[in-house]
Structure formats: structure tokens, C-alpha cells
């Protein structure tokens, strides 16, 4: 068969959103690839310039439907850095617990989409079912299921609801039981391993050079996690490990995320044990001073950065958002070339695309 360009997107089951991956195939082998993004560009950075500081929190939620809590948390961190606010310790612990729950939920959603991509419908429904446990917890904590609008500048919106500790401990136990089941379902399956091991290898140097971050980079053997290396919130108090794999293939990326869920379970347990009593919110000033604020967190998808410029009014002068997926997807051609057409779904699924934060 002659070489031909195939548009995988903008409306394609592989894309999980609205973007276009153009691949040039020779038979079934990929010889070139070219991602095209921007279909979901909503101008959030411009939108933020017209809103007051608290009003941006729900907008930051909308950056990523998979892990909205981390984005609003990042926004609050940025503005707290800009305004120089000291957050109560209880609020920090609640935040850490909530974003670790969000990380598990996000990774489970990724796993669901990934399993669905590979044709394993069971993986999709089981993981989405177990994600529901954490979504329910977050709903009881925040009051919403997807766009939580929970962190506030200077704390969090609500205190823990009654019986929350008990439910969380149960959920974590349930999750650890389920993770073992997934390892049977995925790792124990020969066909799953055939589809993953040795596919989509991203070498360490390429990953660093192309700006790939997060689990995808840690799967390539770089031991860098902002929770450890540039700690924010109360992560220095927590005892957890940075997960790292050396292979850099799809299986390593899968493995890193699975192991991160284990670590998140540990962090949630510790946060519950160490949680102090006290206030969970302080009143934030209305106006920000002239200056800049920088927030840098470990999103479930990689390194998320926000950079806020304040000009003394109650609206930010400029808010720049760095989405990890935006940079990661630019590395896609490097990873894709040389593999089969069916591997596109495994590779791009393994990178955990999220178009909302990609196009902003």
C-alpha cells in the first residue's frame, strides 16, 4: 500500500476530546505524525483578566475535566504566592488529601480510557466504577462531582463533613484491594502485555529535551517529582516514594501511574492521621499587590505551572497557564514514528491526553 495521511481526529474515538493527530502510514507502519490542537481553545487566559481573583477559581476548574481540583489548587497556590497569604495548616492537609484523591480519580479515568482504547471494555467499566468511590468522597467534601470549586485563596471552602475520615479509610482500603485486581486484569493478561511492552519507547534524553513531564517522564527513568523536589503545601511532611521506571515504553508509563495510585493511598492515610484541628480558611485580601506569583505543582499529567502578574487591582493583569499535556503532545511524533497504526492508541492513550488543559 502506498503511503497515505490519515486524520485521527478531530472526531475520532482515539482522541478523547477534540484534537487531530495526522499520521502518515506506510501500510500499517507510521512514518510521520503531526498533532494539531486548538479546537477547544476557550481563551481562559484572557477570560481571567476580566474577573476578580475569587471568580477565577471555578474557571480554573474547567481547565481539565479529569483533574479539576489540582488546577484550582494550583491557581490558589499562585495567588497565595502573589498575595503572600499564610494558609492554615488544616487547610493544607485537607488540600493535600483532596488532590491525592483527585490524582487517584484522574489516574483511574486515564486507566479507563486507556483500557477502552485497547478494547478492554471491562477495564473501562471497572475503573470508572471505582473512580466513583473517590468522586463520591470528593462530592461529600466539596459539593460537586466534576468541577469541584473547592480550594479558596487562603484555605478551602468547607471543613470535612461528618464521617468523612471513616469513609476515606474505607475507600482507600477498597482501592488497594481493587488495585490488586487490576494487576490481574491488566498485568496478568498476555495480550495486554503484548500491546504494551516495548511499544512507544521514549528515551530519557528525548523526554528531557522535549519537555515531557510527569508520569511519562518518570517512566523514562528521570526521578523528578515536584512533590519531593520542590515541595509545596505539606508534602514535606508526607512519607512517600517517587515512582520511577527505566524502560520508557507504554508498559512503564502504565506501571508508573499504577504505582502512583499506591503512593497516593499512602499519602491520603497519612494526611488523615496527621490532620490538625483549627480553622480551614482565612480571609484573603481583595486586591493583589504589584508583583508576580508562581505556582508549580505536580499534576496527574505532569508539571503544571501558573504565573500570575498582579497590578494592585482585584483582577490579575496576566495569568499564564502552563499545561503539561500541551508540551507532552508536541513530543508525540518522536514517540510514534516506527510503530504500527494500532499502537497510536496505546501510545497516545498512555500519555493521558486532556484537551481542556491542552487548549486552554
Amino acid at each position: 500500500m502506498a503511503e497515505m495521511w490519515i486524520n485521527m481526529g478531530p472526531q475520532h474515538p482515539m482522541t478523547h476530546g477534540l484534537w487531530n493527530l495526522r499520521v502518515k502510514v506506510d501500510g500499517e507502519t507510521i512514518v510521520d505524525a503531526e498533532p494539531e490542537v486548538g479546537y477547544l481553545h476557550r481563551g481562559i487566559e484572557k477570560l481571567c483578566e476580566a474577573r476578580t481573583y475569587p471568580q477565577i477559581i471555578p474557571i480554573a476548574d474547567r481547565l481539565c475535566y479529569g483533574s479539576s481540583l489540582t488546577w484550582s489548587h494550583l491557581y490558589c497556590l499562585t495567588v497565595e504566592d502573589l498575595m503572600d497569604i499564610e494558609v492554615p495548616e488544616r487547610a493544607e492537609y485537607i488540600r493535600v488529601m483532596a488532590i491525592e484523591m483527585q490524582r487517584i480519580a484522574s489516574h483511574l479515568m486515564w486507566l479507563a480510557a486507556y483500557a477502552g482504547d485497547l478494547g478492554l471494555a471491562v477495564g473501562f467499566t471497572y475503573t470508572m466504577r471505582d473512580r466513583e468511590v473517590f468522586v463520591d468522597l470528593l462530592q461529600a467534601l466539596t459539593g460537586s462531582r466534576l468541577t469541584y470549586n473547592y480550594p479558596r485563596i487562603g484555605g478551602v471552602a468547607h471543613d470535612l463533613p461528618p464521617d468523612f475520615e471513616r469513609d476515606t479509610v474505607r475507600a482507600v482500603q477498597y482501592m488497594e484491594m481493587r488495585l490488586k485486581e487490576y494487576e490481574d486484569l491488566f498485568d496478568g493478561s498476555k495480550i495486554f502485555m503484548m500491546r504494551n511492552v516495548g511499544i512507544g519507547i521514549l528515551r530519557k534524553e528525548d523526554g528531557i529535551n522535549l519537555g515531557v513531564t510527569g508520569p511519562s517522564l518518570r517512566a523514562s527513568g528521570v526521578d523528578y517529582d515536584l512533590r519531593k523536589d520542590m515541595p509545596y503545601s505539606v508534602y514535606p511532611e508526607m512519607d512517600f516514594e517517587v515512582v520511577k521506571h527505566e524502560d520508557g515504553d507504554c508498559y512503564a508509563r502504565y506501571r508508573v501511574r499504577m504505582d502512583e495510585m499506591w503512593e497516593s493511598c499512602r499519602i491520603i492515610r497519612q494526611a488523615l492521621q496527621k490532620m490538625p484541628t483549627g480553622r480551614w480558611r482565612v480571609v484573603a485580601p481583595r486586591n493583589a499587590p504589584v508583583g508576580t506569583g508562581l505556582g508549580r505543582v505536580e499534576d496527574p499529567r505532569g508539571e503544571a505551572v501558573m504565573y500570575a502578574v498582579g497590578d494592585g487591582t482585584d483582577r490579575p493583569y496576566r495569568l499564564k497557564i502552563r499545561s503539561p499535556i500541551f508540551v507532552t503532545v508536541s513530543a508525540a511524533p518522536k514517540i510514534l514514528v516506527g510503530y504500527k497504526l494500532a499502537d497510536v492508541v496505546a501510545i497516545m492513550g498512555g500519555l493521558d491526553m486532556c484537551i481542556g488543559e491542552n487548549d486552554r
Partner: protein, 169 residues
């Protein structure tokens, strides 16, 4: 676990510096190295937080400063390129991180309003490619010798740069 503890304590090294250069903390060392290599173009090197530095770079020397950072000082990860539109100037801000020494440096480069051109650093960091395209797309900063400077988020036939302050939708 001991390894992790060591690392986390290395990440939040104290801000107070010993007088001698032997005990100098890594942030100061990087800033001093930059200032010694580029005495004329790098200015206002300050330490903002543990692990975070800021320096101003003249745009004429931006490429070689970035090259030094990448090759000699071990800043191998370009985190973010952001452009800010002020009344009298554009500021292009590079956040560059180091995986080895767990540092972050914030390089600020300024261009005049009527000539928003800086050197592209996408040949130093491959990850800069799309971020520069995004800055070009939304803010209208032009990056010299960029391999493919096209609009990325907006359609190709759009005439304006929406994040500029004089843009009214």
C-alpha cells in the same frame, strides 16, 4: 526511604549563606556563574525562594545565556515561556528548571512594543517549540530562527493576537 529524605532536605536548603564560597548555596552559585559569564547582559540576579531565582537578560544575549544554562549549568528542562504585555514593553519570561540540582530560574527578557522579536531557543530545548508558537499565536512575539512559527491554537487566518492588552474582542 533514606534516599528520599536526603533529597527532600536538599530541595529546601536554607537561605542563609556561609561567607566562603565553599558553602555557597546552589542558587547563589548559579547566579554568580551567570553574572561572571555575561557581566553586561545579565542583571538583577536575585533569589526569590529556596530553589527559585530570577535574573534579567538582555534580549541580544538571550540565546547564549540559555545555551550556557543548558550546557554548563545543567538546566535541562524549559518549563514555561510566558509573555506579558505591559504598557511600554513586552516581557518574555522563561522558567527553566534543573533536574540535577532541583532549581528553577526565571529569566526575564524585555522587548520594545514595536519590535517584539527574540531569539528562538527551540534548538536548545525541543520542548520550547510549541510554547514559542503559542506565544507567537496569542501575544505576537516573534521568535527568530524558529523552525515553524505558525499559529497553533487559533485558526491560521486570524489577524490579531488576542492576549495583547489593546485587543478588544
Amino acid at each position: 526511604m533514606s534516599e528520599g529524605d536526603k533529597r527532600s532536605s536538599a530541595g529546601v536548603v536554607g537561605i542563609e549563606t556561609a561567607p566562603s564560597r565553599v558553602g555557597e548555596n546552589p542558587e547563589r552559585r548559579v547566579l554568580r556563574a551567570l553574572a561572571e559569564s555575561f557581566p553586561k547582559t545579565v542583571s538583577e540576579g536575585t533569589q526569590l525562594r529556596p530553589g527559585v531565582m530570577r535574573a534579567k537578560v538582555d534580549r541580544s544575549d538571550l540565546y547564549s545565556v540559555c545555551r550556557t544554562l543548558r550546557e554548563d549549568l545543567g538546566f535541562e528542562h524549559l518549563t514555561m515561556i510566558s509573555a506579558v504585555d505591559y504598557d511600554d514593553r513586552f516581557e518574555i519570561i522563561y522558567h527553566i528548571a534543573s533536574y540535577q540540582s532541583r532549581l528553577l530560574i526565571e529569566l526575564i527578557s524585555t522587548t520594545p512594543k514595536d519590535d517584539p522579536v527574540v531569539d528562538s531557543v527551540s534548538s536548545i530545548w525541543g520542548g520550547a517549540n510549541w510554547q514559542e508558537r503559542e506565544s507567537y499565536d496569542l501575544m505576537g512575539i516573534e521568535f527568530k530562527s524558529h523552525p515553524k512559527l505558525e499559529r497553533i491554537l487559533l485558526p491560521k487566518d486570524v489577524l490579531y493576537h488576542p492576549l495583547r492588552k489593546d485587543f478588544r474582542g
